[in-house]
Amino acid sequence: MNIVEYRKHRNENQIRTCCCKRRAPWELQPDRKILIGTADKNIPNNRVETSKYNMLTFLPKNSLEQFRKASNLYFLLLGIFQILPPVTTTDGQPTVYLPLSFIIMVSMIKDFFEDFKRHRADDEENNRTVQKYSLRTGVFEYEKWQNVYVGDIIRIANKQRIPADIIILATSKGGECFVETKNLDGETNLKPKYAHPQLQSLYKQLNEKELPYNLFVTMDFERQNPLMYKFKGSFNIVNENKEQPKEALNYENFLERGCSLQNTDWILAVTVYTGHDTKIMMNSIIGKMKYSTVERLMSKQILWVFLFLLFECIFASTYYNVWYQRNVNELQSYLNIDKNAPENNSFYNFVLRFAMWFLLLGNSVPISLLVTLETVKFFQAQMIQWDKNYLTFDRAAAVHSSNLSEELGVIEYIFSDKTGTLTQNIMKFKSLIIDDIVYGDIQEQAYQQEIIDEKPFKEKQRIVSQNVDFTDDELYSELISQFINKKSAKHFSNNDHIFLSLLCLSLCHTIQTELVENIESDIQYNASSPDELALVSFAAEMGFKYIGKEENVMKVYIKHSKEILKFQIQQIIEFNSTRKRMSIVLKDKNGRLILFCKGADNVILSMLQDFDENDTIQKNILFEIKKQLQEYATIGLRTLVLGYKELEQKEYEKFLSEYNRAQAILDDDQLRESLMNQLEEMIENNLKLLCATAIEDKLQDKVGEVIADLKSAGINVWVLTGDKIETAINIGFSCKLLTDQVKRFIIDGDVEGQVERQLGKVTNYINDHPEEPLSLIVSGVALVIIIHNFKEAFFKVALKANAVMACRVSPKQKQEIVNLVRRLTGKITLAIGDGANDVAMITQAHVGVGIRGLEGQQAAKASDYAIGEFKHLRRLLFYSGHESYRKNSNLILFNFYKNQLYIGAFFFFGFSNGFSGQNLYDQWLSQIFNVFFTSLPIILYALFDEKYPNSNYMQLVQDKANFLESRPDIYREYLSKPIFNLVSFWRQFLLGLLQAILLMVISFYAFEPISPHNQGQNSTYLEAGMTIMSAVVIIVNLKVLLMHNTNYPIIIYINLGSTICFILFFLLFSQYPFFESFDLFQRLFECFNYYMAMILMLIVTNFFDLARLRYNYFVEQYKEHQSNNPPTQLEIEM
């Protein structure tokens, strides 16, 4: 074997582009050959960069991006037009560049900070440390993640995260280790991974001593690729040039970046893929930019406005041409247009006027709108992040795409994950039913608050721990008294159901633990199912503590008699979704075999040993248990029934041999499955009833209340879960999504016909009772069939349903459902989830909300909004979203109104001069009008205005910081009557245009044709123009004040300040003959007519607007009075 070949092998392909070398795409990379322990420095190291720029590239790259935005390009071109001599309306000065550069600067600063944040996040990731084996010194040294290369040997300690994709060389557990992959797939259970035995034996001593110098391990494996759950490779140990056969490596030996090591002291591993080559990075979803619906509608309207602008230009240039041709003789005398001059040519004239008018009216597309909106949204996002009401464990909400703040105000569909989102993923053991006795109160949960506040009248002992919330006196004392009687566990028989039940609880599971030295100390259980955790924890609380397994022997420590019981595991028949039960066969130290079985109630109850019809006791017990279980189910508790069976040695042996034979059938999967199922059923049959349990799937705080509020706000809540139908229904009940009053339909067929039948039933029901509410529960399998065949029919039903729950759906299906609803209804959707399995749906929905779990940030990272708990959704929608929607919509409407008011005036001025393209305002003042004089007030409005100020309502409603949070009906209002739509947009647009006529008329006739000055001097066209301009500044700023629901002194000052800013600029410009407005300030401000005209203009615009608004307001208030609702305005005397 040639080691040199491995040393020299090029693992990295580059392609040459025009000027520089670049990495080839992964498809063109070679398969890798490395020497374990020798870093291949040709392959990029483990550094990860998600930032877009660095110090050098920021300016060129970002500027390029700025001009990729249509609006910026538009204004850039407008500026070029302004320079062209024949068309310039600004003496060849590109005045539009003044606001444009300001806008680009703001945008650049924003990009800079965003990239800076990414840099920081990257740095944090890249500068984590890991122990890396140094060939030079032969010991492990701490090294930054980013300095890890392919081929490096690293050592990872328990609970640490894996820095790169690695192959396990050795572990502290003899070749086995456990990892948690929550970051990758959202699953919280631990997965075992293994080191190859040869590597394990070779490398396990590397901690202490170096490898022999002449020993090499070569590795061959695939090129980097984005295929998950797959690794193909081989290694070869070359000892003193002696070659051993190649050994294969596969996914079992492979660990991805992003997992974390659990329950294993350490592992040694070799890096195989680094940095951007890792599976997680190659699969990382590059978040598409999401735009809010309001913004998309706005962009579309901008296009229409642009068309309107073109229409105006065409109108103006045509008008000019016609007018000119009519008056050509008259105009000749003072315009000196030669008969042969191009100006006499209609076509030339048309083009020229068109360009001029285009320049003049170009600002109809508000230059400052986009940047204003961006700024506002950025700060609105900050507000959410600052808001203490979103704090969960001292962590505030995080906003990842500030673009969407107004989208939150018009959500109509919410798709929620269940586990970790609605529920805490914590199971609390609540109740145990042995025979017909119920231990453990369940109602108490509702009175928790009171119990803490005042002494409850009947005080029961309450055991509360991570997975147990058990309020009961009898069980424990009963147990103690039994132990006092019998002294030791060996005196208990199978008829002692309490003893046997607890033993069953502590044994019938597949939990992993570490054996601890001190049996009294706490034990860390690692369960793949949180239910099991609850059961075992409960047993431990009751003194039956499972302390782990040693070579197939399960040990239970009985606290009461201080002895350890040992059971040898004979067989575990695992849980799956069709069996809905699991069994374990154990052999105690006397050699007796016992089978414990636990499972869904209907399954276990149907497998019970038949009993005599006349056995009233048994019958009674069964009846009681069934009744109790039914009751639990309706309040959403998860119930399990446990049974046992004593097995004869012979019976078991017979089962075992047949079972093994069945298992060995390899060529026919179906046969094997059915045979095994038969055998399993046989051995599990004829159980004796032991007990039933109730576990509370702990809901997150206030989930029920919030869901009820969301629904009364007109939002449809769909739950999409990977869980079983039963659990989903349980949760549906406990969070009040489902109730017994509402008819429930379940579609869970496996085959087409069945699904069709079930669907048909629902359709019929809807046709018969169109007004009746219903809820729909659909399984993932059925959903696949539905999406293939009955998409329309299903969604017709589903969109009618009060509640929809989809169970056992994959991440992909979740995404598909969201996508379909989004497409079919055209409504705004929101997806909320906490796990990596929700990422697809979070990115698919209009708005993705991530719940930041205690661990696992995948969903939160991919989301647009990351919050700590489901209950914050209410504030996020009802307050933050609703208010943002209101304010941002008004901001957009206002901006178009403003520009029409401003620009419309000189469009109408065109009628007085045949649309010759003369401007009316001082060009420099005109260009900064938008940015400097009229932007800040509306920005402050959008940031600080509140329908119901926090400060006034803060303490009024418990736990609802803003009054809006308690008013779902107000949220609902905007769903049916959006503020921002086509009609409102064009109404504002035309309102601006019409009011512009008024301004034009008033300002011109106030100054013309007589002298407005008491010295008899004449005014000029610019005086009228500047009067309009100052009127517009004052009108629009005042309009913002009138729009405010809440007034803050500081904001009033700033608003006035904006107007004063205009006055100062005007004054300044008036001092220099360079500007057209030279000396106009003095003239206007000492002119009486100016003030008269100003007041008149204010009244005909704003005050008549105000009258309209007030009138609408009173009508609405009156309506509310009539419908006997409490008034919207919560009036408090402060």
Binding site: E330, Y334, Q918, S951, Y1005, A1006, S1011, F1104
Partner: protein, 312 residues
């Protein structure tokens, strides 16, 4: 008041915190129908009274205009008889008015050279492109300067441009007869232009100019009007004029028939608010009426809401 007490405890310590938590002390006006009625009632009163006041003031101003282009048609010098209806108190402002003259044409407005008018020396034809299409003496149609030196037709015209070219050059001499004795009324052209404008104009070289650009009448002309019918101040009469007949001797140089326009002369006095302006007073009265209607509408709204309430 319990709530406000709790609120004080929660009151954030600093302004920064208050902003971050959106709990700035706010003032939220609650619109009521009464306040609205009062507001609009005040507006109505204000506008109606202002309208009347403006009307009264406007009525105090004497103003009369006389069209003379038709009368003087074809005469280079014409004696135009007029009659003033009332006595005019000094200062009387004497305007000429042109109709259908589009000074607000873009081509027209831009056709001048600010540099040249400010007296900058040595501006060649190339520097005066803004004067297009009238840059040279030839284009201007002038061959003699003010002091009668011949001008080269290729030299730049001073002043150049369309505005200058179309400079209104009729002159007026107001006379009246008392006891068969003809007396001239002095019409001063001093102070007819804005003082600040005077500083912007200077002569370059009289012998190369066809016009004195510091002439205040020229400066007034250069401030172009916004509307096609406009008045320009020609002079100030610093003596009272009695009601009666006057003859205006007009040098009828300006060809208004070429552009199909009319020419007027206007006598006007001013008050402290400027010249006669009926538009504002009419507009104020209109708005006042509209505002009253709004007030009445709100009153009715209030009345009917109350009636309905009683029914409930």
């Amino acid at each position: 008041m319990e709530s406000s007490q709790q609120q004080d405890q929660k009151q954030p310590s600093s302004i920064g915190q208050a902003i971050k938590q959106q709990v700035l002390k706010a003032w939220q006006p609650v619109p009521t129908i009464n306040s609205t009625i009062i507001l609009f009632a005040i507006l109505s009163v204000y506008f109606l009274s202002m309208g009347i006041v403006l009307n009264v003031y406007s009525g105090e101003i004497n103003q009369q205009s006389f069209r003379y282009d038709a009368y003087c048609q074809g005469y280079p010098v014409c004696e135009f008889p007029i009659a003033l209806d009332t006595d005019y108190k000094a200062p009387i402002y004497f305007y000429y008015q042109l109709d259908n003259f589009y000074q607000n044409q873009r081509r027209y407005i831009t056709s001048k050279s600010v540099e040249q008018l400010s007296g900058q020396q040595g501006l060649g034809v190339g520097d005066l492109s803004t004067c297009y299409p009238v840059i040279t003496n030839g284009q201007m149609g002038k061959n003699l300067s003010i002091n009668a030196t011949p001008l080269s037709s290729n030299d730049p015209a001073i002043p150049c441009g369309l505005i200058a070219q179309s400079y209104f050059n009729d002159t007026f001499n107001i006379t009246y007869e008392v006891n068969d004795e003809v007396t001239n009324v002095t019409v001063s052209n001093e102070g007819i232009a804005w003082p600040t404008d005077l500083g912007l104009y200077a002569n370059t070289n009289i012998s190369q100019q066809w016009l004195n650009v510091t002439d205040e009448r020229f400066i007034v002309w250069m401030r172009v009007a916004a509307m096609p019918n406009f008045r320009k101040l020609w002079g100030i009469i610093n003596q009272d004029l009695q009601q009666g007949r006057y003859t205006i001797v007009i040098e009828n140089n300006y060809n208004s028939s070429a552009y199909g326009g009319k020419k007027f002369i206007v006598f006007s006095t001013t008050n402290q608010f400027g010249g006669k302006n009926e538009f504002l007073s009419v507009a104020y009265i209109c708005v006042g009426v509209a505002s009253s209607l709004v007030t009445i509408a709100f009153c009715l709204k209030k009345y009917f809401s109350r009636v309905d309430h009683k029914k409930l």
